[in-house]
Symmetry: D2
Subunit: 352 residues, 4 copies
Amino acid sequence: MAEKKKIGILGASGYTGAELVRLLLRHPRVEIVLLTADRRAGQMMGDVFPQFAPYDLPRLVAIDSVDWPNASLDLLFCALPHATTQKVLKDVFAKAPGIKVVDLSADFRLEDASAYAKWYGHEHHALELQQKAVYGLVEVYRRDIRKARLVANPGCYTTCAQLPLVPLLKARAIETDEIVIDAKSGMTGAGRSAKEEMLFSEVSEGFNAYGIGHHRHMAELDQEFSKAAGKDVMVSFTPHLVPMNRGIFSTIYVRGRRGKTAQDFHDILAKHYDKEPFVHVLPFGKAPQSRHVRGSNMTFIGVVADRIAGRAIIISTLDNLTKGASGQAVQNMNLVLGLPETAGIDQPPMFP
Amino acid sequence: MAEKKKIGILGASGYTGAELVRLLLRHPRVEIVLLTADRRAGQMMGDVFPQFAPYDLPRLVAIDSVDWPNASLDLLFCALPHATTQKVLKDVFAKAPGIKVVDLSADFRLEDASAYAKWYGHEHHALELQQKAVYGLVEVYRRDIRKARLVANPGCYTTCAQLPLVPLLKARAIETDEIVIDAKSGMTGAGRSAKEEMLFSEVSEGFNAYGIGHHRHMAELDQEFSKAAGKDVMVSFTPHLVPMNRGIFSTIYVRGRRGKTAQDFHDILAKHYDKEPFVHVLPFGKAPQSRHVRGSNMTFIGVVADRIAGRAIIISTLDNLTKGASGQAVQNMNLVLGLPETAGIDQPPMFP
Amino acid sequence: MAEKKKIGILGASGYTGAELVRLLLRHPRVEIVLLTADRRAGQMMGDVFPQFAPYDLPRLVAIDSVDWPNASLDLLFCALPHATTQKVLKDVFAKAPGIKVVDLSADFRLEDASAYAKWYGHEHHALELQQKAVYGLVEVYRRDIRKARLVANPGCYTTCAQLPLVPLLKARAIETDEIVIDAKSGMTGAGRSAKEEMLFSEVSEGFNAYGIGHHRHMAELDQEFSKAAGKDVMVSFTPHLVPMNRGIFSTIYVRGRRGKTAQDFHDILAKHYDKEPFVHVLPFGKAPQSRHVRGSNMTFIGVVADRIAGRAIIISTLDNLTKGASGQAVQNMNLVLGLPETAGIDQPPMFP
Amino acid sequence: MAEKKKIGILGASGYTGAELVRLLLRHPRVEIVLLTADRRAGQMMGDVFPQFAPYDLPRLVAIDSVDWPNASLDLLFCALPHATTQKVLKDVFAKAPGIKVVDLSADFRLEDASAYAKWYGHEHHALELQQKAVYGLVEVYRRDIRKARLVANPGCYTTCAQLPLVPLLKARAIETDEIVIDAKSGMTGAGRSAKEEMLFSEVSEGFNAYGIGHHRHMAELDQEFSKAAGKDVMVSFTPHLVPMNRGIFSTIYVRGRRGKTAQDFHDILAKHYDKEPFVHVLPFGKAPQSRHVRGSNMTFIGVVADRIAGRAIIISTLDNLTKGASGQAVQNMNLVLGLPETAGIDQPPMFP
């Protein structure tokens, strides 16, 4: 058997870090040799996530204590918060120029420095790295990713919206000024930080929207939709929180262009994703449920005709921690390292 | 103290029946003297809903066993399934012509017999009653309801959508061909019948849409929106199920007409509902959460500007069992019987 | 109508504070004139708990800003954290000697100063107040409470365990060295502070015990059980957290003494609580569910025979925020102020 | 690579059937060649469990349509309801005498025909098969299982209780007449049949016990505990339902025998399970949570000293669908077929 690739994870004490560990522990071709978590440095992974207590994993260390030139990593996952990421990765690449990185933050997703500055309120701190980054939506940029040194793993909301819409925009099949994306997310999408509004008693038995009219993910959607459509596209996008742990579910309202109908949208998507291992298009008129992709790297897409002529409702759903974050990151890793694309992320969904 | 009005409830073993009992038990001016539940006839209400075991309530009886001419009811709530209702109420009115009824089913909500036939697949069985029915959206039809003998209590989804949209349509403030209503409901909206897809293990930790493109509530929306707008209006409406018990949450996407903006929508609604006891409009730019109306008869409405010029996102939320069903039914009862409109339904929401 | 009593609440930004407001808003004989919340001082109650936005309530103030001698309060609820309470109430009584207080913290529940010091790790700071405090388990100490100036409202776990066990211990019906109380609580019992282990994503879809072998509530149980039994009693008590918002559910394992059986336990409890408005004993062999008391001040108790001769399983359940905290506090207030005991807390449970 | 073993599943439309499919789809040494579901015969597995739509699986057939002599199965899982199982397996073994079976029902767990008749109310219909069945608690009966033709897979509650208690009973470390097992289960333990009391709206936001004093699982506990202790043992056992999908969590109260303490219990268990792949004993004084074993075949056990001298609280938790049913069934299959014991069931838990 081939030697295992050596993998590190920055930010292992968050949910996407834990999901990476879950997936990589069963990956046949890699081994985890570095785990960092600054506030939990010195502890075992099983202290931070008790489900990993029975497993043999490296002790958590602080980022500053890593000897990058001698770390001998084949690939590094970065699951750090926004802004921190830029600073850290700039330093890592300086010390270990040959390293390959899959970054799960939003820091390297926007190609346009001014768009970044506008949405994030400050200049980008690592513009030269940004220019080398490849946007990691595998089903769109697979070829580029294979050659990348730094992959910017897409956001969970945006992956869920792009997979159905990008092919339709490329096909010029839908009107671009009437797209509404009503998106719903499980609570793990909000991360593990202790905030009052994320307490069980605040969340359970209720539903709410947030970031209405001005959510940062819009920048990523604008960039990719405009590229796909060949012109500026701006969509209405509203994210909501569902009292569940995992899952993104997007209800997308579109109007056909030049006589294109819901059935056409379905045919375009069904054909486009026919060979993709992680995108499943349901029969026309059927809609998927978030629970049926839970824990897997799958995206399920359904297309239904609206009763209003020319309009359609498209449902797209994925697990925000898997295809929406760590699963797609492993998919990117597989491409970057030349491993089989589905290795380590081929487990079926877990329902119920 | 004035003598208490005598109230009956048909269909007391369902959730809306139980919610009526919860509210009426503390209503200062009425008493429950009749409870029917055909399959549970002979049992106590506490056998069907153990929370009522400590209360003194009439034993459940079968509808056929009621002696209508001598029942001496001031008002009857009908919480029976669709279609059954028509047959039963026709019979009740024949035997007790002076009775007043608030019906919680969909049977008498559509004025147009052909719309009914189209959506329900059969002729209406009590058309002469239909013609006397008053649509019970109190904030719109309060005056007519006071004089009604048969009130058709509105649906939960439609109440939640009409309260924000009817005033805007009447004011001609929004475009009528681009309205998208993305609606989310708690599970009690699906009733108490034992179906596989409603089991806890099927519902928990997941999210899904249903009735996409062709939900029956659309007929009620078409009727009321068209009346309000003075022309035919058809909206995109998609209902979803949230893993929670109570709550309707509607995210509504609209575009302003003739330069009207989100701020204008807010001002129209804030002014319109200024004196209403059960509609609360939040400050401009703020959105409500379903949990903050739970158990109460309140509807909370928020208006937020979209980043796309001229577009707005309106959030409306209510408790589907209270303002969306039994609470509004009691509100209608209060009007029909000449009681204070808020009697028995003035309890604050229960959060957490 | 009699003039309304003037009520203040210290610590209105926590869950028990909010529950007090919910109940008192509909209490016919009191009005809320003071609400404190140090970190939210200056805000409206609707900023902290949006469900109260439509209600007319005093603005939140800091405790230090209250002019106690001129506050003219008839009664003060104290819903502050442990230890803080002692200091604050000492000061309040010094400045407003005639005030009456119902305290919801654990600070004044233990009569024995050494027990307090042992369980809390420091001397009590207001021992002279402690000596005047009356333990507020209404069904046991109703007569004393009527004359009290300071009522120590019991804990949620302990109320749920005492209501079934105290009468059995007084009757010498059960062995005292084999009592096991396996208690389960909804998450609101843990309060509103932002802690990682209370996040939705940490709590949902899981179950755990905590404070195993050494939970502070044991001190309160030891005190009251020993008093009831006339000898030292120490029970095995394990608290657990259920992924739900409200409810305490206790499964209690006991062995009969001198031939007493489960049927005897049932008869003792049924007779004992026959006239109590807030304790409902189910028929022998039936067990209650936590959902059926939600939102109400009721305790439901069931007694079932174990298959092991002489042993019984007793189930007791209440809503931790109502009978387990704020509802019982209002019950105590009613007694202290000479109001009808059930005023303001007679709403039926809310299920579903 | 060795040829894959051919596997069939009877009763594939239930939750344990789906869990078998989830696990076997990634098992490197087997393939699923037969799936039965009488009421869904003719449908695809993806119609019954949409998560499997992307996978290549045999179409569901009726049991009666299977040609057993020519089915060429290496092993058959039986996930049928109680009683049906006896009849079906008798027939299968008659037609395919060489077949090997892992049965997930309770039908073959009780060795004593009179115990069976007492608990199930009728004579066993396949006593001769019963005599050949091996009880499939792997950690206790591994050697016998390897040679078995019919393995009776243990119940979820009983596995969770036996793993900590059997070694302690064998070591004569605890008193046998004071054992209390307070067990809590996720809702999938109740299966997939459409019953009112299992609806989301009935289950969510509540907690309850059931089968109090007389649950059928007690028979299995009596049998195994008495064998382990070398004398008749009868325990107090109360099952409860938690509003979550997966997980068994048992809080076990024991008293040490002849001076044995909680620390001794811990040492016995830690040593006993040191080499077991699927049992993890936490450090003394620590307790596990159900969420940290979710989706895995692990059992986590913790031992904590009670404050009452000589008493301990033992917490044991597993996933009822995995180690409590289908995961253990695969573990049994691996032993029966001579495959590596952990094959296909080595995925880490999924949290959050």
